[in-house]
Each structure stands twice: as structure tokens, then as C-alpha cells.
Subunit: 461 residues, 2 copies
């Protein structure tokens, strides 16, 4: 077999890179669980009509077909999921009678999109989603909750660049446009055009607002003024009020967004910030209140790497409606570019803290016994594959980043050498422990990845 | 949207069932890491020519096609992997220059097979594989290693029924047949027929050995006598010798198998046993030495739930050959039937140990502060969704199996009630800890699942 080549858009990690990903995923999962979110997994496939319900044809779906398809049965109508929201909504409806609401779940799984691969865009990638879903109603404090949980999780990923969580509220935007006199039908079009501000110059958007959405120059001006407002505290409220628009839905949106920003501000750090950004709308998605996007410091070109919001009808079976609020972190989108550039690394490629040296093949059993004692003590270790010269066994450990080598003595104990310092001491495998920070591979980033200073440092706590 | 119905062959778990699966997967992963095995994941898709290389058409492959396929490019030739061995062999070849050998990896992932669904057979399921792969050579002690690692992992799954690991050696079988005078071409056919002993009566197999493999009655008799030998220690060696066959390959196989059984015997417990079973051959798979199968006590009809063996050429690029030895646990095959029958359960459906009660909506912030303090202490918790009467909040906890309810006092501390016992004490959220066994959901099995006594109890250590 010739040497295989990678498949574009299907990233795979080397063992040391996977150590980094594992630590990220474990940190996310344990943080979500601290906040009472339970794990679920859904099957990889959904019926095609479900996958196409959102009507967003840019998410190219992979269809499944059996190699030995005898009939038109079944699989012709199945595809791989392209996000975790569609499957979650289906899971909630399917199991509603067996779930307790409000239902908090996290879901960390691969998703697939038949897109053209590019930086940060993959055909197979891992997402980490949290959602809270209610039956009939879901109080607003759950919007605050999901933002706080994700901020807590991101703050614990301290070997990554900083994050900026940008929040807005659809009620605020829609109420503002309605208060300006834009018709119900015009509001969606205005929102769609304003959402293009990250791609088009503001003058071009103003032009389109007049030509395509049919609003006046004066209305367009104020829509753009609204979208220009940002703040890391609730000072955005006064700036919106200065634009002189009144509407009950606008009031509701301002109230929700300021509550959210005030509740999240105490969690902000230098590396993880939150700001109200009134340009955020989340395009065509069916959000009805809070919306989230997130930028990775220094990697703004990746777009939003953590997005979500409030759906007043995440799912509905006609009789009962299930409102939800959630946020989804693009794990691969953040990690893969950093790992591929070697900007974030683990200091070993194996879990082993100790390599137990083998004096000769006859005494391999003694080395195995040392390893068994270390493992009983929770110390990951491996036994040298051959009874090579000790220098060669030490280099074997070095190449894998294993920090300690154990030399067995005939009495069943021995000496343990820290091969980074050369320090060697007598030790008993039944009680020996490495320093806690050596128990797992250490993940670190290059200094150049240090987070940039926050935009409005003085207002952060 | 009408209520969705499950898809046959694609099992999904409810939150409490998923807690059980998570604990199984975490136990497997941490055991594998204690033994120095690192995690990797491979993409879900492989080129179709790779997937069909094994020539086993019974593993029906799912092909991928993009919904908006503009050209014949790419995806026409891609399918979902049906095991983790084919992708691992490809990963080793693709990354050989960047891996350290011997390379130990574990891989816990979903695989897909377009088979007809039945008990223990799914179209999407999770496997947990461990393998050690060498470059050019791989000493036999790694065969012993993977058996010991899997025994250690299975023994830690003490809420499952017992396991019986059955081991044999292809060299032993092939050497025996060769020593009997069976031709090189006949050996594979004899092995294939003897492998049918679990489905056909022994008389029928004897008949086929004569008619299809072309061996004599006397030869067939001794092949069946060999396959009837089982022992939990190395006493099988003497019984094979009594059959009066001599061959250097037989000697090698006997030596390897007895080494393996002796090295594993000290790890056997009542629940997890090992035995030499000379009928095990692993059919058409390309094993060249050690072979493994495993039966789940009381669920023998599931077939082997954990199988593997030694491949002298797991992968090869023409210049370099990579021998490997590994074993694969069918996690879904074991767990899903037990979970679906409710025989193994978790005592709560959420990770939360504590529900922090809310006195009124105005003081929700106080409850949030208690929760933040508990989380800083590593205690998973959630805050009540509404300020209902305390009786209702307690029932909210009960329905989820949350063992403790925290009542906040105005000073920011409060009282914590164990709702199982009714015991309520004053407590400080900065220091309070639940009993360690309450930190995570407790997984338990029905008493009827207690392991059966081992077959040869007196010979277990």
C-alpha cells in the first residue's frame, strides 16, 4: 500500500496534539457538569427532511447510501448532521415524556459539512454545545446562565488566546426598527443587510438599505448608528436612547441585554471579555431574543467561533412548544489552526509519567511488578520495550517527553530519575508520586500567543 | 412537526443511561492511560478501496454523497469506517515518520455498518480499541500486555456482568494441522470449518472436514479433539501433547499461549476470567499468532464482545512492515442491551449534587452566589428554575435524583438538606463537601445481574 495522504477538510491530530484536544474537551465537560448540564449524544444521522428544514442550503449535507443497497428502503433519505441543534430539537421531541424540564444538556460531537475546506472551515469537526430547554416557557435568567457557563468554560482554557463574547438581542433590534417605522416585512430585510457590516463598507450597506429594504436615508442612518454601538457595561442603553426611538419591544430588548451584560461582567477577565455589540444579528437563524457571537483574539478572520442565542420555539410538536437558549463552541475551528501552527503544544506524546527500565529480559517481570504498583497508585507508566543499554532507554523516554525513568533493584523497589534534571533518588513504587503538575501532560502556548489587552480595560472588574 | 420515532439500529440513550456510558468510557480511558496508551481519533471516513481491502462483504459500508454534488470529484469514493483497525493502519502509515514505535494507542469512537439491526447488532455503535504497533518487529510480550490491559479495564467495570476472555494462538492451530499432515492450502479451510463449531454440531463439522477440506477421518478427529481443549491455566499444553502431533510452529504456539495464560492468571477475579480455548480462531481475519474473544456472562448469545489478536503485518508500505497486536471492546454491544432492559442504572439524570433553592426572584442572585461558591469547590450544582414553594423545589430535586437541597440564608450561607434522609444542617458553601460517593452519579446493577461463579473456580487465584 502506498503512503496515504491526508483528506482535505478532515483534520487529524498527532498524539501530542490530541493530548491538547483531550484537555480542552475534559475542561469543557467538567465545567458544564459543575453547572448541572448533563451529557447526551445523538446518532450521527438524521432524516433528510429534518436536515433541510432550516432551509440554509449553504450547509451542504452528506447523504448516506449503503454499498449493497437492495431496495429504495431507508437510507436514501438519511444524512449526516451538520450541527447539534437540529438533532437536539428532534431528541427533545422524541423523548419529551422522559425528560425533566427545564432540561440542561451539553453535547460534544463531530458534525459534517460538505463545504469547500479553508482555514477554520472543515468537512468534519467537533462542536461543544450547551442548551437549556423548557416546556411552554423558559425564564430569561437561563439566557444569563448559558452565557455565564460558557464564559466560565472559556476562562479555564487558559492556554488558548483570549476570547471576546459579543452579545445582542433581536427584540432590541426589531423593536428599534419597528419604532423607526419600518414595516414588519421590512424588518427582516434590514436585519439581513445590517448583518453584512462585517463584509461590506457601511456606505454600501446604507445604499442597500434604501434600495433593497425601501427605507429612507434618515432611517438607514439611524439603523447604522444603532449597529455602531458597543460597550462592555450597560452604558449602551443611554446611547440607544439618544437615537430617539421608542417601542415596547425595544424596551424589552434593552432590559434583557443590560441584565445579561451586568450579570456577566463580574466573570470577565483579561483573557475572556464580554461586550454588548449591537451589530450582531446572527443572520438567517431563527433567534428571537438574545444572540451570541465570539471572536478569538488574533484570529478574528476565523469569524465567530462560539455562537448561539434564544429560540422561542427550539422544537414544537403542534401541541407543546419547547423554547430554548444555547451556545455552541467550534472546538476544531479554534484548536486545529493553533495546533497545526504548533502554537499550542503538550510536553509529551504519551500519558506515561514513568518509563520503567528493563535490566534484562529475564527480569521483565520485576519491571512489570513495579509498573503495576505505580498504576495502583494512579501513576500512568509504561515498561521499556527492550532491555537495551540504559542510555538508550533514557533516550526512549526523552523522545516521548516521559519525565521519569525507574531503575528496578532486585529487592523490588529501585531508584527514580528525573531525566530533565538528572536528579535520581531511591523510591518505593507503592508510595512514590510525581509532582502533581507532572501527572498529566502540560499544555502550553508560545509567548506570542499572549492575549491582547482588552479593548476597554478600565471598565473590566 | 409530528413526534419523531427512533431509527432502528441507531441507539440513543436517555440522560441517566448516558451517565452510565460516560462512566464506562471514562474508566476505560483512564485505565488505558495508566498503561501508557495515548488517545487518538481518526476521521469518520476512509477511501472506499481501503474499506473494501479486507474483502469481508458482510460488513456493509455506508457510502457518502454530497447533497449538492457538482462533479464526480472526491466523495463518490468515500465511506464511513466500519471498525477502528482499518483507519488505525492507515493513520500509522500516513504518520509513520512522526510517531514513536512501539506505538501504543487507544481509540474510542463510533463506527457504522449497514447491517440488519438485531439484539447487540447496531448500525451505529461505539468501540474501544487498544493496539501496540511496532516498526519491523514487535516482541511477544506486547501480546501479554494488551491482554493484561483489557483485563484490568474490564475488572474496573464492576457494575457490569462478568467477562470471560478466551485466548488461543494461530501458530498453535496451524502448527498442529501442519504436524498432522494437512497441506498448506488445506490449513485455512480446516481453520474456517473448525471455527463453525459454535454454530454447527461437531458431527457436521467432522463431515465437512472430510468432504470439503479433504482430510482423513483420523485427522478430522484430532482437529476436533484439539478444538475441545480448554483450561484456565497452562494444563492445556499436556493435553495437546497427548494428541501426539509434532511441529516447530505448534511448539512456538504452545509456548506463546502458555506464557500468555500464566502472565494473565494473576489478574483473574471472580468476575473477569481468562482461559485458553483452543476452538477460537477468529475466522477470516488476518491474525498470525495470539487471538482473543470474550463472552459476557449471561449474554453469551451476543457472541464475542471483545476480540482481537496479533497481526504480523497490521500495515505495510512495501518497504517497512508494522506488526501489531490489539483488542477491541464493543462498548455499545455490551451496554445498550443492559441499559434498554434497565438492568444497569445511574441514580440521577443530572450531574448536580445540589439544588440551590430560590426564596423569591429578587434573591436569585444570592442563590447564584451560593452555586458559584460550591462550584469553586468542585461541587456540581444547579439553581432552582423558579421561586416555587420549597416543597415543590424539593420534588424538583427528587425527580432528577439530586441528593441535596441548599436553602440560602440572608447572610450568604444557609442550610443543606439531604433529601434522602431529611437530615438538615447549617453549612458554609465555601467549605461544604458532599460525601465522596455522592459527587458523581452512582451506577449500579440489579442483583439478578450478579456474576455467575467461574467455570473452574478452584484454579483461579
Amino acid at each position: 500500500m502506498a503512503k496515504p495522504t491526508p483528506l482535505s477538510g478532515f483534520p487529524e491530530l498527532l498524539p501530542a496534539q490530541r493530548q491538547v484536544e483531550q484537555q480542552v474537551l475534559a475542561t469543557l465537560a467538567s465545567t458544564f457538569e459543575l453547572h448541572g448540564f448533563g451529557s447526551i449524544e445523538t446518532r450521527a444521522v438524521e432524516p433528510l427532511d429534518q436536515l433541510l428544514r432550516k432551509g440554509d442550503t449553504s450547509k451542504e449535507v452528506y447523504l448516506l447510501r449503503r454499498l449493497h443497497e437492495e431496495s429504495a428502503e431507508g437510507h436514501a433519505g438519511m444524512g449526516l448532521h451538520f450541527d447539534l441543534t437540529v438533532p437536539f430539537a428532534r431528541y427533545v421531541l422524541e423523548n419529551a415524556g422522559r425528560l425533566e424540564f427545564p432540561f440542561r444538556r451539553y453535547q460534544i460531537q463531530k458534525v459534517w459539512r460538505g463545504e469547500r475546506p479553508q482555514e477554520g472551515r472543515f468537512r468534519e469537526f467537533t462542536q461543544a454545545d450547551i442548551d437549556v430547554v423548557g416546556r411552554d416557557t423558559l425564564p430569561f435568567h437561563h439566557d444569563v446562565e448559558v452565557a455565564r457557563v460558557m464564559l466560565d468554560a472559556l476562562a479555564r482554557l487558559d492556554f488558548l488566546p483570549g476570547f471576546r463574547l459579543q452579545v445582542n438581542n433581536r427584540k432590541l433590534i426589531q423593536g428599534f426598527y419597528a419604532g423607526l417605522g419600518v414595516s414588519d416585512e421590512g424588518i427582516d430585510e434590514v436585519m439581513r443587510l445590517v448583518d453584512k457590516l462585517d463584509k461590506l463598507p457601511s456606505d454600501k450597506v446604507r445604499e442597500l438599505l434604501v434600495s433593497d429594504a425601501g427605507i429612507t436615508d434618515e432611517q438607514a442612518e439611524r439603523c447604522l448608528a444603532l449597529a455602531a454601538i458597543r460597550s462592555v457595561d450597560d452604558s449602551f442603553v443611554a446611547r440607544v436612547r439618544e437615537l430617539g426611538v421608542d417601542h415596547p419591544l425595544l424596551d424589552e430588548g434593552l432590559d434583557e441585554l443590560s441584565t445579561l451584560v451586568r450579570a456577566c461582567a463580574p466573570l470577565a477577565t483579561e483573557a475572556v471579555r464580554i461586550e454588548a455589540d449591537l451589530s450582531i444579528a446572527r443572520g438567517l437563524d431563527y433567534y428571537t431574543g438574545t444572540v451570541f457571537e465570539t471572536r478569538l483574539d488574533g484570529y478574528e478572520s476565523l469569524g465567530s467561533i462560539c455562537s448561539g442565542g434564544r429560540y422561542d420555539a427550539l422544537a414544537s410538536d403542534g401541541r407543546t412548544t419547547y423554547p430554548g437558549v444555547g451556545i455552541s463552541l467550534g472546538v476544531s475551528r479554534v484548536l486545529v489552526p493553533l495546533l497545526q501552527r504548533g502554537l499550542v503544544t503538550a510536553d509529551r506524546s504519551v500519558p506515561s509519567v514513568v518509563l520503567v527500565a528493563v535490566t534484562d529480559e529475564e527480569s521483565r517481570g520485576d519491571a512489570d511488578a513495579i509498573a503495576t504498583a505505580l498504576r495502583a497508585n494512579g501513576v500512568p507508566c509504561e515498561v521499556a520495550p527492550t532491555a537495551a543499554k540504559f542510555g538508550k532507554q533514557i533516550r526512549h523516554a526523552e523522545r516521548r517527553g516521559i519525565p521519569f525513568v525507574w531503575f528496578t533493584s532486585p529487592e523490588g523497589t529501585g531508584e527514580v530519575k528525573d531525566i530533565r534534571t538528572g536528579n535520581q533518588v531511591a523510591a518505593d513504587p507503592a508510595t512514590w508520586q510525581p509532582p502533581t503538575h507532572d501527572l498529566r501532560p502540560t499544555v502550553s502556548r508560545l509567548a506570542s500567543l499572549a492575549p491582547q489587552p482588552p479593548m476597554n480595560k478600565e471598565t473590566n472588574p
